[in-house]
Amino acid sequence: MTDPRAFLQIRRRVAPYRPADQRLGDHRDVGTTVDPALAREQARRCMDCGVPFCQNGCPLHNVIPDWNDLVERGHWQRALEALHATNNFPEFTGKLCPAPCEEACVLALDEQPVTIKQVEMAIIERGFVEGWVNPQVAAGSTGRRVAVIGSGPAGLTAAQQLTRRGHQVTVFERDRLPGGLLRYGIPDFKLEKALIDRRLEQMVAEGTRFETGVDIGRDLDPARLRADHDAIVLATGAQRHRELDLPGRGLLGVEPALRYLTGRNRDVSGEMPGGAISAYGRRVIILGGGDTSADCLGNALREGASSVHEIAHGATPPRTRQPLRTWPQWPALLRSYAVHEEGGERRWELEPIAFEGSDGHVTGVRVVPMAFTGRGGAPRPAGDPVTLPADLVLLAVGFDGVERDPLYQALGVRSTTRGTIPAEAGPAVFGAGDCVGGADLIVTAIADGRAVAERVDRHLSALGAANAA
């Protein structure tokens, strides 16, 4: 912080998206590259607070004020070191994180927070451009072997951390390519897959092994896995979607969002052209009001849906903060993403009560308007039910814990009442990421991946040194 008054003089500015009409025509990143000069300017707004609420708000506890300071003064490489010190994959969070750090920023109290995410993205992009992101090969091998099951952000993080400690890590992935939801859930227009690939290259160069297309329990005996490894990390995600048990749920065209998104990703990447579900020419209703529904919205628009509606049953979120009421916590605010500028319509306060259809195919969603005027803002019906026409209904109403997986049974891992698994899942078996905590942010998954790596490392150290190869 070279100028303590900078926040008074500089307004918040973020790099623009590409024009909506242009980006609707492709699947490439909606954003543009952050100009380093802009990042430096914006980093100056950081006040280097005595209590860094941003760091507290970040699940990774990124040392935000420190790298803001380094960027501001042009020390890019040291900023990258500071960033990587707490975050293995800043490009993923830089692209995808909803940035609770920015909500916690002290500047958010009275005006616009520091563009923390944008600075982060600028640092890591600069790092890749300059060739500063290199494999960090461990000084020696411990001879210990670790299996990481699942290659989403939690699994990749755990694998990278453990590899760098000198353990031999193998990542098992049942899909064709590693990345988990990063690859198969997140659309390309938010995260181009090349960003994942260049990380995987680094990981492979560091010594992490990847076994893809291997579904443990089906393709590989868990007992074998256990015998071959000193520790197992389960990072299998929480992909069981929440059900909407309404009349007509069985109609064709009522689909879980993730199925749609996975299909779209496989189509875009060419892994499986065509995809499972198409929105082309259809009237699409997405039930839900979060990140997943927004991803569906963007895909549906790109596919050429004839109309897209995002329908949420909750109250219309406020557009402005109430100072100090929620801060520095995450406030329930109306959040708009790039896709919301592109088309479609968002509605709130509509409670779905049935899916209507003909010939076994969905034709509409019956909804009741709600008003949030009861005691403590409780919802109650505020009108007669109406039917919204639809040819495709995507359910983006959340996730409900781990899939019932034979793997867990084979490893003797019991699930918790929340439908997830315990962090200490069994002898030498550790859980990490969404499968432990439930569906959450990527940044949380990375944090958990780092935490589990610490625990595993301690566990392995306690075993003593193996006879290294």
């Binding site: 303590p4 008054r5 926040f7 008074l8 006040m47 280097d48 607070c49 005595g50 209590v51 860094p52 609420f53 760091q55 507290n56 708000g57 506890h61 040392v63 004020p65 420190d66 020390h75 010190a85 916690a104 002290v106 500047l107 109290l109 009275d110 000084a139 100072p323 100090l324 009421r325 929620t326 801060w327 520095p328 916590q329």
Partner: protein, 1492 residues
């Protein structure tokens, strides 16, 4: 106080005293009894400078020294002892305090007689001294000894040899009695000499003459007398502590005494004396450790004088002037005299006025700071009266032929028979010409800068990061501390206090220095301003062997001299390079193998000690302790441990004085580290890794375009400045006196570690031992050499970081509290409080205390929240440090609750005392009086429920403050009587509180102005604060605040935030314990301040003794503070600590938020009270029996914290008595009665009165009455014509419409806080000397004046117009530091000026007569220009001032100046502050209007 009272946190060594002192000398040599009577009268007139304890009839001590009253003794010995005395000089006599137990007494008497005989002389017998015990108080009687006089006949040798033997006899008797277990308080040889005799006791000044019959006997004759009236901080005083001692009596404090005593002990083995011969051994130790500072100085003087030096010589070498200051006008030989003696002894510095007599003459000296007053008059018939005040003896003005004062660093000799006063220059020149000191220095002294250069080794930049880790550097430290020091050349500044864990509770590995806290001066000894008064300070360092005190040999000054104790690598190389004619240096490695375990560390330290001894006995005069070479296998012994261990070991071995210790270490990097190494004995330190780090920062581009050399230079300069500040906080002027003085308190170090390696260090709660220290080092070392060890730890000490040092105010705590008060959610508050209390277990001392759950009572039986909140106050935060919005929010909230808010140091808008439409009052009930006296006017004072004297502030005790110019907008400038945009300085000390009796005087002043307000004194927790508080209670304060070190602040240097002051728990418990012990607890209400957050904090504070509770940070957080810690930058983003209008708009706090917070806390207090079964707060106070220590954290033992307060039977445990201020005796009552027509009827009143020096604060009460009743009285409304001697604070705070004219002379603090009134002082026309040659007013005149006029015909003392912000004054000469820190007003000096004029002056202007053109050399030009007067308006202003001066004082000087009006512009210089010129305003128009 006797040692058996040691309990809880109190330690007898903490006690202080200060006093009134006087000397009367008949210069013509006539010996007469009248002089004794006059001396006793003078003493009685100094009574107000002494004090009484819990018992009003027991004084703190009074005494007198005279020449041997031969006539009286001859007669009484003949009558009572049946013996004829030999001729004068052939016998000695002395008072002896003997035990009351007859058996014990007999043994003591026999001891005296036996030892006299053994030493070759004969005790003639014991004479009962006639006394009147019925006159004295209960406490004094209880401890009264049997008082007898011992008479000894000289059997051999000459008179000088006899005196030496008497000294030996006395020391032997003292030692023998002590070994026999006789308490010193019961058996004391008051004096034993053939030349002088001392009478003293635990008496009031007025009782001395009545008590001792001898003193009333007309046969008691003397030509000189020394008298003393004592004010001590404790009440359980003992008879032996009264002054005078054998040689001296003193007013003030020997600040440096810890170091002085340590060095005296260290050099005893090297002492040799031909005069004493083998007797020398019998004197050891020269000073007993438990003696008071005065007693130790007395012992030192006695040793030097009986060792062959003259009394003047002894005092000159012990209390030298600031001879290193090149601007001090000293003869070269005199300078050489002081430099030579600096190689023998470090200064024994004050603040002190020391009066001493050897029976033949009185020598009086003032330390270099000149903070104690010493005024003298000489009469036509040869009597000189020298005393702390003028007017102690009534003398006809016509008889007075000389009226002067003792100046800083100067000395006077009054010798019966010499017929004139010997002045300083003459005395010192005579001393300087005794030996060829200048030649000796030229031949022997080596200057480091002149030693040959040595080439450097190549630096391995790669290794630096790992070393930094090994020595515990953090990234934060590198950036925020080291980087800032190197970039700015000054210490970095922070704000909002220290809420991080203390080292002993930290979950991280903290360095050994983090366990120490700097001690600081409060009340009893003023801190120094190291920036504005730099001329008295010095970092000059010398290494080599220390010479023999009792001889004068040329080779004793063979030492290497350099200007700072912090050495660059190059300087260290020069220092230790072998040279043919140099001193021999030995380098000892302080590395150890961490793998060898804790025993390995201990063994290595033992080896190091042996090696150090060997090196010294082999002739090394410089021992370098070096930790160069840290690698995977070798860690450094913490350098502080190494140096303290070697230092104390060499002291024990008797070898310490033979060498200088130098530390070469990678660890020290900030001021505190260096201060510690030096404070534990190092002469010099080379912080090699810190310097390498600075170069590293330059290489990394962290310091912009700064070159490495320049960065290193700035870094070293910043550390120099830091060291000066550390010294100045203790009121110590030279690093030489600081070295080895051990002025620290440890928190969390265990007893074995302390006793073994840090002897004498206070560590009251126990803590870690050597094994844990090893583990800490080992852990750090291991991680430094592990893979990844090149990455520095983030830190988080100053700005919180996840995983770094924990802080009480973290994001969760801040946001929970804010949500609780905004959502009105008690549940959220509970969450907040639970989390904060739980975190407190590892953050605060109180976290280690638990409430004893016992007989709970129902909640509804507990006192209501509405009552409890009345005990709450918000802390002192000035409008200026925080915004108007925030300030008024707090005030409104506290007024709604019935609690109290505090103005802070910045004045207050009177409009806030009127209720607004909604019935809210924005007035602060507590009005603070701090060192800068901003806005402290009579109106301000009368509009207060409580007046709080801020002695120190938790965040930066012992330091001043600074409000940056950009925070001084027009509103704030108006309140503070300053100029917008001009920075404002608060001086480190109150310039009217240099000592405890001065505090009593300020309390008296304030009470006089506003008798209805309670007077509060704010202190900061440190070892000994309880004793200071006892003194404060005796000084008549009604309320005492004990602030913790963790207090928030708008701005303070980081090192002060972190490393000075103690947790309030310790200070509060100690204060409560000491007040109860002294029977003073009932007189004061105790308030605690510092980081209170929850109800649990309040309850624990109450149990430890607090009745009231001040909160600052928490209510600010409730109002929206997010702990940005940018208060000092004016960029507070929530509109609290800023004056920026844009940011102030962002303030969202409301009084409701604050009210809710306090009610939440109070409700929690009630719940806790119910759980421990106590229904009212009154009953809760001091109930430490309801607390228990919960487990040992870090080895801490909190037992002393909750030790029961033991006092005399029936002594109060909480506030329940009233202080007797004696206001009814004030002259002002008559003046107010006389002024009634003016007060009620707006008639003009002129009244007359006679005053004496014992009439203090004359005019203050009348002024208060005018301010309260009449508002603005018209000019000339009330005129008081006084005659006589003005006591202290004459005309303090007098408002507009009141004119006070004194014909006579006046003491210190005249016109203090002048608030619009007119003050005129002129000597009587019939005085025996010209007015302009007499010192007409004392020191610190017009301090903090905000307006009005003063015309003083004659000279003023030191610090004239210090902190004047609006008064116009004319004076005919001033002492040193004139117009210091002035921010407004105009001053004309028509005569001589002392040094350092205009230091820190940022506003107002001064005209100074400069006929010889030398004024600029005495002016401090850092902030002002001195120029010829060119503006016509300025000449007109000066002329107008002179005309008024002539009119009001008949000044002949002013008249003669005016007679050549055209020459005025030529003869005067104008002093204009740069700041004033920069903002383009001059001088404040309002002042000029009033003056013109």
């Amino acid at each position: 106080m006797s040692g058996n009272h040691r309990s809880g946190l109190h330690h007898p060594g903490f006690e202080h005293d200060a006093c009134g002192v006087g000397a009367l000398v008949q210069l013509d040599g006539r010996s007469r009894h009248a002089l004794v009577r006059q001396a006793l009268t003078a003493l009685a007139n100094l009574d107000h400078r002494g004090a009484t304890g819990a018992d009003a009839l027991t004084g703190d001590g009074a005494g007198i020294t005279t020449q041997m009253p031969d006539r009286l003794l001859r007669a009484v010995c003949s009558a009572q002892l049946r013996c004829e005395l030999p001729a004068p000089g052939g016998y000695a006599a002395g008072l002896v305090f003997l035990p009351r137990d007859p058996g014990l007494r007999l043994r003591c008497e026999e001891l005296c007689i036996r030892i006299c005989a053994e030493e070759g002389h004969r005790a003639l017998g014991w004479r009962d001294v006639p006394v009147r015990p019925e006159l004295i108080g209960r406490v004094a009687s209880r401890s009264a000894p049997v008082i007898r006089q011992l008479v000894v006949e000289r059997r051999t040798g000459d008179e000088a040899a006899f005196e030496r033997k008497l000294y030996v006899i006395r020391r032997r008797v003292e030692r023998a009695a002590m070994q026999a277990g006789v308490p010193e308080a019961e058996f004391t040889i008051v004096s034993l000499s053939a030349r002088r005799l001392v009478y003293k006791g635990l008496l009031k000044a007025t009782q001395l003459g009545e008590f001792y019959g001898d003193l009333r006997d007309p046969r008691y004759e003397t030509a000189l007398a020394l008298v003393h009236s004592r004010f001590s901080t404790n009440t359980l005083g003992t008879w032996d502590l009264a002054h005078p001692f054998n040689f001296l009596a003193h007013n003030g404090e020997i600040n440096t005494v810890r170091g002085n005593a340590n060095w005296l002990a260290a050099r005893e083995p090297q002492l040799r004396s031909e005069l004493f011969g083998d007797d020398l051994q019998k004197l050891f130790p020269i000073a007993e450790p438990r003696w008071s500072d005065s007693a130790k100085l007395d012992a030192m003087v006695e040793l030097l004088v009986l060792g062959g030096r003259s009394l003047a010589h002894a005092l000159a070498m012990l209390i030298p002037p600031a001879w290193t200051d090149p601007t001090l006008d000293l003869d070269d030989d005199v300078r050489a005299f002081f430099e030579y003696h600096a190689s023998l002894v470090e200064p024994w510095d004050g603040p002190a006025a020391v009066f001493a007599t050897d029976g033949s003459r009185v020598v009086a000296t003032l330390d270099r700071n000149g903070l104690r007053p010493a005024r003298f008059v000489r009469t036509r018939d040869g009597l000189v009266v020298l005393a702390s005040e003028i007017g102690v003896l009534e003398i006809e003005p016509a008889e007075i032929v000389e009226a002067g004062r003792l100046r800083p660093g100067q000395m006077l000799v009054l010798e019966p028979g010499r017929d004139r006063i010997l002045a300083d220059a003459e005395i010192k020149l005579e001393l300087a010409r005794r030996r060829p000191y200048r030649h000796w220095l030229r031949v022997n002294r080596l200057r480091l800068a002149e030693l040959p250069a040595v080439a450097a080794a190549v630096e391995d930049a790669q290794a630096i990061a790992r070393l930094q880790n090994a020595f515990g550097y953090t990234a934060e430290e590198l950036r925020l501390v080291i980087g800032a020091l190197a970039r700015d050349g000054a210490e970095p500044v922070g704000s909002m206090g220290d809420d991080a864990a203390p080292a002993v509770l930290s979950n991280r590995t903290r360095m050994l220095p983090a366990y120490f806290r700097q001690q600081f001066a409060q009340v009893t000894n003023p801190p120094i301003d190291p920036q504005r008064e730099a001329l008295v300070m010095s970092l000059r360092t010398a290494v080599g062997a220390i010479g023999n005190l009792l001889e004068e040999r040329p080779q004793d000054c063979r030492r290497i001299v350099f200007e700072s104790p912090i050495l660059s690598d190059e300087q260290l190389r020069r220092l230790r390079a072998p040279q043919s004619d140099g001193l021999v240096a030995a380098t000892l490695s302080t590395l150890y193998r961490p793998r060898a375990g804790p025993d390995g560390l201990e063994r290595t330290v033992d080896d190091l000690l042996r090696a150090a001894s060997a090196a010294v006995w082999d002739g090394a005069q410089i021992v370098v302790l070096s930790d160069r070479g840290v690698d995977r296998e070798h860690a450094a012994i913490p350098p502080l441990l190494a140096v303290a261990a070697v230092h104390s070991h060499l002291v024990r071995e008797g070898a310490r004085a033979m060498c200088g210790l130098v530390v070469e270490s990678g660890e020290p990097r900030e001021t505190m580290h260096l201060a510690l190494l030096i404070g534990y004995g190092a002469a010099a330190v080379n912080p090699y890794l810190a310097l390498a780090s600075v170069r590293g920062l330059v290489r990394d581009g962290e310091l912009g375009t700064l070159e490495a050399d320049e960065a290193e230079r700035r870094y070293l300069a910043a550390l120099d400045r830091g060291l000066l500040k550390v010294c100045s906080k203790m009121g110590i002027s030279t690093i030489q006196s600081y070295r080895g003085a051990n002025l620290f308190e440890a928190i969390g170090l265990g007893p074995r570690l302390i006793e073994r390696y840090f002897p004498g260090t206070i560590s009251r709660l126990g803590g870690i031992e050597l094994d844990e220290l090893h583990r800490i080092s080992e852990r750090r070392h291991r991680s430094a050499f592990a893979p990844g060890g090149a990455e520095l730890d983030a830190g988080g000490e100053y700005r919180q970081r996840h995983g770094g040092e924990r802080h009480a105010w973290d994001a969760e705590a801040v946001s929970r509290l804010q949500r609780a008060v905004r959502d009105e959610s008690h549940a959220t508050f509970e969450e907040f409080a639970q989390a904060v209390d739980a975190a407190g277990r590892s953050l605060t001392l109180r976290g280690g205390l638990e409430l004893r759950q016992g007989s709970a009572i129902p909640l509804d039986q507990v006192e209501s929240s509405a009552e409890i909140v009345k005990r709450f106050a918000t802390g002192a935060m000035s409008l200026g440090s925080i915004s108007k919005e925030a300030h008024e929010t707090l005030a409104v909230a506290m007024n709604r609750l019935g609690g109290r808010s505090n103005t802070g140091e910045g004045g207050e808008d009177p409009a806030r005392s009127t209720r607004d439409a909604s019935g809210d009052l924005r007035r602060s009930a507590i009005k603070q009086v701090a060192s800068a006296r901003f806005g402290v006017t009579a109106d301000y004072l009368v509009d207060a429920d409580q007046l709080q004297i801020k002695i120190s502030q938790g965040a930066k005790p012992g330091e001043g403050g600074q409000l940056p110019g950009d925070k001084v907008d027009s509103a704030i400038a108006a309140l503070r009587h300053a100029t917008p945009g001009v920075g404002l300085i608060s001086p480190p000390p109150h310039h009217d509180i240099y000592s405890i009796e001065d505090l009593a005087q300020l309390i008296h002043d304030l009470k006089s102005v506003n008798p209805a307000a309670g007077i509060s004194v704010k202190l900061v927790s440190e070892a000994g604060v309880g004793t200071v508080a006892a003194g404060v209670a005796k000084a008549k304060a009604e309320h005492i605040v004990i602030a913790g070190h963790d207090g928030g602040t708008g701005a303070a240097p980081l090192s002060s935030l972190k490393q000075t002051g103690l947790p309030w728990e310790m200070g509060l418990a100690e204060t409560h314990q000491v007040l109860v012990m002294n029977g003073l607890r009932g007189r004061v209400r105790l308030q605690v301040d510092g980081g209170l957050r929850t109800g649990r904090d309040v309850v624990i504070a109450a149990m430890l003794g607090a009745e009231e509770f001040a909160f600052s940070t928490a209510p600010l957080v409730a109002a929206g503070c997010v702990m940005m810690r940018v208060c000092h930058l004016n960029t507070c983003p929530v509109g609290i600590a800023t004056q920026d209008p844009e940011l102030r708009r962002r303030f969202t706090g409301t009084p409701e938020h604050v009210v809710r917070y306090f009610l939440f806390v109070a409700e929690q207090v009630r719940e806790l009270m119910a759980s421990v079964g106590v229904a009212t707060m009154d009953e809760l106070v001091g109930r430490c029996d309801l607390l228990r220590a919960a487990g040992r954290r870090g080895g801490l033992d909190l037992g002393a914290l909750i030790a029961p307060a033991l006092g005399p039977d029936g002594s109060a445990r909480r506030h329940c008595e009233r202080q007797d201020h004696g206001l009814e005796k004030a002259v002002d009552h008559r003046l107010i009665a006389a002024a009634e027509p003016a007060l009620s009827g707006r008639e003009r009143v002129v009244t007359r009165c006679r005053v004496a020096n014992t009439d203090r604060s004359v005019g203050a009460m009348l002024g208060g009455a005018i301010a309260r009743r009449a508002g603005a009285l018209a000019e000339g409304g009330v005129t008081v014509l006084a005659e006589g001697i003005g006591g202290q604070s004459f005309g303090a705070f007098i408002p507009s419409g009141l004119s006070l004219h004194l014909t006579g002379w006046c003491n210190d603090y005249a016109g203090k806080g002048l608030s619009g009134g007119t003050l005129v002082v002129r000597p009587p026309d019939d005085a025996g000397l010209p007015a302009e040659r007499s010192v007409v007013v004392g020191n610190t005149v017009l301090y903090g004046a905000t307006g009005g006029r003063a015309f003083l015909r004659g000279q003023a003392g030191e610090r004239f117009c210090v902190r004047n912000s609006g008064a116009a004054a004319v004076v005919e000469g001033v002492g040193d530091h004139g117009c210091e820190y002035m921010t407004g007003g105009v001053v004309a000096v028509l005569g001589e000026t002392g040094r350092n004029f205009a230091a820190g002056m940022s506003g107002g202007i001064a005209f100074v007569l400069d006929d010889d053109g030398s004024f600029h050399s005495r002016c401090n030009l850092a902030m002002v220009d001195v120029e010829p007067i060119t503006e016509h308006e300025d000449v007109a202003l000066l002329a107008s001032l002179l005309e008024q001066h002539v009119e009001l004082t008949a000044s002949s000087i002013a008249a003669s100046l005016l007679s050549e009006r055209a020459a005025l512009a030529e003869r005067f210089r104008i002093v204009i502050p740069h700041d004033l010129r920069r903002v383009g305003v001059r001088p404040p128009a309002a002042v000029l209007e009033r003056v013109a």
